[in-house]
């Protein structure tokens, strides 16, 4: 009832010039709010939801692309440099969106539940962490005992090559892991992939002996970044520093650079995903998801198709892993826990499995929830705790509230709730996947 009322209202608004005006107003309002209130979470949420306006309102594609480009390439960098936390949020959204898009191929398209997806992310990350740091020369030292003057194995600019190597190696790992297990029925596969995820984490934790490959739980640092050309800093400074209000430091420039790289990777991933989806491969994946027996009877080689899905999904995670290792300059096993895998799965399920805009939305919602909403709540509760405020009716003083009640620490609870509620009430997700409508030209009679 209520939702249909809103839908009608939305449809009424969503046409003609009004849609253009609303998009523009949303973007400008968001920008203004964030610019004037650089510390406000709410202002940032207004800005970031303008991507949703952009997606949902009907407008010319060229207009949308233009506004999207201005948002991504001008507005976000400027407000991001003014408050680096925003840039961090956006960067994490991008990283998780890429992971969610990769997992979407496996879960959403091919219907294979992979609970150890971050294993491939870890493969990419440790790949660059090993070759892009001094780790090669640390092989024979126990963690923490190496001399400090060891050289680096490769120059930082090898990073670009390793983006490709990451794709290949993670894809190969996907095939290698997939080969024995992809013959299994769906739910066995889930548990075995979970196991693989744990195996990778345990290996990362323990492969500091007999040879020190991963430096154990302490992780690998420093990992190199690609060099930043001076002219890029100068160029950016001349154009943007008036807008930002202060000169931009090289550290900020690095953050910007990785944000841009993440954007590029996502665009490539979306491009690849869409093209694959709309080909014999995508159709075969979906057919396998819908009914394996019928699919194989149509001549679709099940194992090969599943392996392809696994490999493609894994390679997306691999490239993001390399990017993450370089941008953080530090990698430890903690970033690749089972919870991360479920987090990415939650994004896919929440947004809409099989739906590209859906999983991006899912990644954005879950990441903002994690980084901003829950943190914001925690801060707010902390403030209340330090005040003398009392909950009126039940006469409960806020300062007696247990410090254990820190929403930021209860991500699992929210992931779990999201998964259960989505499955019961909206299994297709916030933006359900749509099948493409084909307009087939009537053929000339022969």
């Amino acid at each position: 009832m209520v939702s249909s009322y809103f839908k009608e209202l939305f449809d009424k608004v969503n046409q003609g010039p009004l849609a253009y005006i609303l998009i523009t107003v949303h973007v400008i309002a968001g920008t203004y709010l964030v610019y004037t209130e650089p510390r406000s979470n709410l202002a940032f949420l207004v800005l970031i939801t303008s991507f949703m306006s952009l997606y949902f309102f009907q407008a010319d594609v060229r207009f949308k692309l233009f506004v999207g480009a201005v948002l991504a390439l001008v507005i976000i960098p400027v407000v991001g440099v003014r408050n680096i936390f925003y840039l961090e949020v956006i960067f994490q959204i991008s990283v998780f969106a890429a992971l969610a898009l990769g997992l979407n191929i496996v879960v959403g398209f091919a219907g294979l539940l992979d609970l150890g997806y971050v294993a491939f992310y870890a493969v990419g990350a440790y790949l660059w962490a090993f070759f892009g740091s001094q780790q090669f020369y640390v092989l024979h030292y126990a963690p923490g005992t190496q001399p400090s003057d060891l050289p680096f194995l490769l120059p930082g600019d090898a990073f670009y090559m390793f983006l490709l190597v990451g794709v290949v190696i993670a894809g190969l790992t996907g095939i290698l892991l997939g080969l024995p297990v992809l013959r299994l029925k769906g739910d066995y596969l889930a548990i075995v992939t979970l196991g693989f995820g744990e195996v990778i984490r345990v290996l990362a934790n323990n492969l500091d002996k007999p040879l020190n490959f991963t430096n154990g739980p302490q992780g690998i640092t420093p990992i190199q970044r690609p060099t930043m050309p001076d002219f890029a800093v100068d160029w950016f400074n001349t154009i943007f520093s008036p807008l930002v209000g202060h000169p931009i430091s090289p550290a900020d420039m690095y953050n910007l650079m990785f944000y841009i790289y993440a954007l590029i990777v996502i665009i490539v991933i979306i491009f690849v995903t869409r093209r694959l989806d709309d080909s014999k491969l995508g159709r075969a994946w979906t057919a396998v998801r819908e009914d394996e027996t019928a699919a194989i009877a149509q001549g679709i080689p099940l194992v090969r198709m599943k392996l392809t899905a696994f490999a493609v999904g894994a390679s997306f995670a691999g490239v993001m892993g390399v990017l993450l290792a370089a941008s953080r300059t530090f990698i430890s096993p903690e970033s690749f826990s089972f919870m991360q895998s479920i987090g990415v799965l939650t994004m896919v399920i929440l947004g809409g499995s099989g739906s590209i805009p859906g999983v991006i939305l899912g990644a954005a919602v879950v990441t903002t929830l994690n980084l901003q909403v829950l943190q914001g709540f925690s801060l707010y509760l902390n403030e209340l705790r330090q005040s003398d405020a009392v909950i009126p009716v039940i006469n409960f003083a806020w300062k007696d509230l247990s410090t254990q009640l820190d929403p930021a620490k209860y991500q699992k609870l929210f992931f779990g709730l999201i998964l259960i509620l989505m499955m019961i009430f909206r299994p297709a997700g916030l933006i359900p996947a749509k099948r493409r409508k084909r307009q087939v030209a009537p053929e000339e009679s022969k």
Binding site: L113, R183, V192, G195, Q404, L405, G416, L419
Partner: protein, 391 residues
């Protein structure tokens, strides 16, 4: 007495005990033979030299003198796994669905039991309790853990799984993962708000920590004491009792017959007048009861529990269920025992056998190796039937 006995199917009481005995002795003998043989071989290599330098003992002697303790430990944890695995396998048998949240059901059982005992301790009852009372309290804790876990399992099925029956297979599985995550944090939240800490320690009382000593062995420089702790005996006895009861319920009662009928063919069972929903609830209840008891036993054995305590035992029990042939109750017992043994053997000997390169830190992922091997070479499990795929 005689009349009473007529209603009891004695065969179904004895059969599972026989099975458990066979499985325990068989897997213990097999594993021991393997490690002893390995040890004999390794004595000829650098491994033997290394150990001789370090501890002044041959690998063979070291292996042999540790063996009884390893077998007992393996058996104890194996029975815990078996009890949890039964929960997975029963639900799978009836619904063809992996109850991913079963590991948290187990954890809730552990927490309820431990919290009860902590409460009793703080009330001062535990400290001076007689031996009889100590056992009574432990029993009470086990029963409370069972009830809480059983009730929770039924509630979870009702809320998060039943509405999804008939949806595609992934849907309830994802919901179950959600429940698992949710419960972990709910435990944490409740514990955090009420006690302010997540790690709970099982109170020490009674004579559970005492060990019955069989004998002493001197090995090189060090002396080795052979024995079994009373709590290990309790774990084994309680687990065996539960397994026997469950077997009796499923194989020798009317309700059990209904459970088996629903597992065979749900639509037909419902046509025969069986209330399928009630049987499914009952299955979850029984699985939950077992899981809860296993939780308290686990806490008794390992003392320390935290909200994530269910994760690894749950995964391993699932592995055990698959190893034995999921859906098959005898298989779950066998799988649990074998896995417990394998894991304990690997944890105890791998470090020595590989000269410390890979030790017990790989214990937790050892189970997955087994799982993958089983699924590749014998996907139906050790005791599962090869069922033709329906087209």
């Amino acid at each position: 007495m005689k009349r009473f006995l007529r209603y009891i199917n004695v065969y179904e009481l004895i059969r599972p005990i026989g099975q458990l005995l066979t499985f325990s002795v068989g897997s213990a003998a097999l594993m021991s033979a393997i490690v002893v043989a390995l040890a004999l071989v390794l004595d000829q290599t650098a491994v033997g030299v290394h150990l001789m330098d370090k501890l002044n003992v041959t690998v063979f002697n070291y292996t042999l003198s540790n063996l009884p303790q390893v077998v007992i430990d393996g058996l104890t944890i194996g029975f815990v796994y078996a009890a949890i695995a039964l929960g997975y396998t029963m639900v799978y048998g009836v619904l063809q669905f992996i109850n991913f949240a079963h590991s948290e059901i187990f954890a809730v059982g552990a927490f309820v039991g431990v919290e009860l005992l902590i409460f009793l301790q703080s009330a001062g009852v535990l400290a001076g309790a007689s031996l009889f009372m100590a056992y009574a309290y432990l029993l009470l804790a086990i029963i409370m853990g069972m009830l809480a876990a059983g009730g929770l399992a039924v509630a979870v099925e009702r809320i998060a799984y039943r509405p999804l029956r008939g949806a595609s297979r992934l849907v309830p599985l994802i919901s179950a993962i959600g429940v698992s995550f949710l419960l972990q944090d709910v435990i944490r939240l409740v514990e955090g708000l009420t006690t302010g800490q997540f790690n709970r320690i099982m109170p020490t009382f009674g004579n559970f920590d005492e060990r019955i000593i069989f004998g002493k062995l001197s090995m090189g420089a060090s002396k080795l004491v052979l024995g079994i702790s009373i709590k290990s005996i309790i774990v084994i006895v309680v687990a065996v009792l539960m397994l026997v009861c469950l077997n009796y319920l499923v194989n020798a009662t009317r309700v059990g017959k209904a459970i088996r009928a629903v597992a065979q063919d749900m639509p037909t069972a419902s046509l025969m007048g069986i209330n399928v929903n009630r049987i499914i609830s009952l299955t979850f209840l029984v699985g939950g009861l077992l899981g809860g008891a296993a939780g308290v036993l686990y806490a008794l054995k390992f003392t320390r529990i935290d909200p994530f305590v269910g994760f690894f035992p749950g995964l391993k029990a699932f592995t055990a269920a698959v190893l034995g042939g999921i859906g098959n109750m005898t298989g779950a017992l066998l799988g649990g025992i074998i896995l417990g043994m394998l894991e304990t053997f690997a944890g105890s000997y791998m470090g020595i056998f590989t000269m410390g390169a890979a030790g017990s830190e790989y214990k937790d992922i050892f189970a997955f190796g087994i799982l993958i091997l089983v699924l590749i070479f014998r996907p139906q499990g050790l005791m599962g039937k090869n069922v033709g795929q329906k087209a």
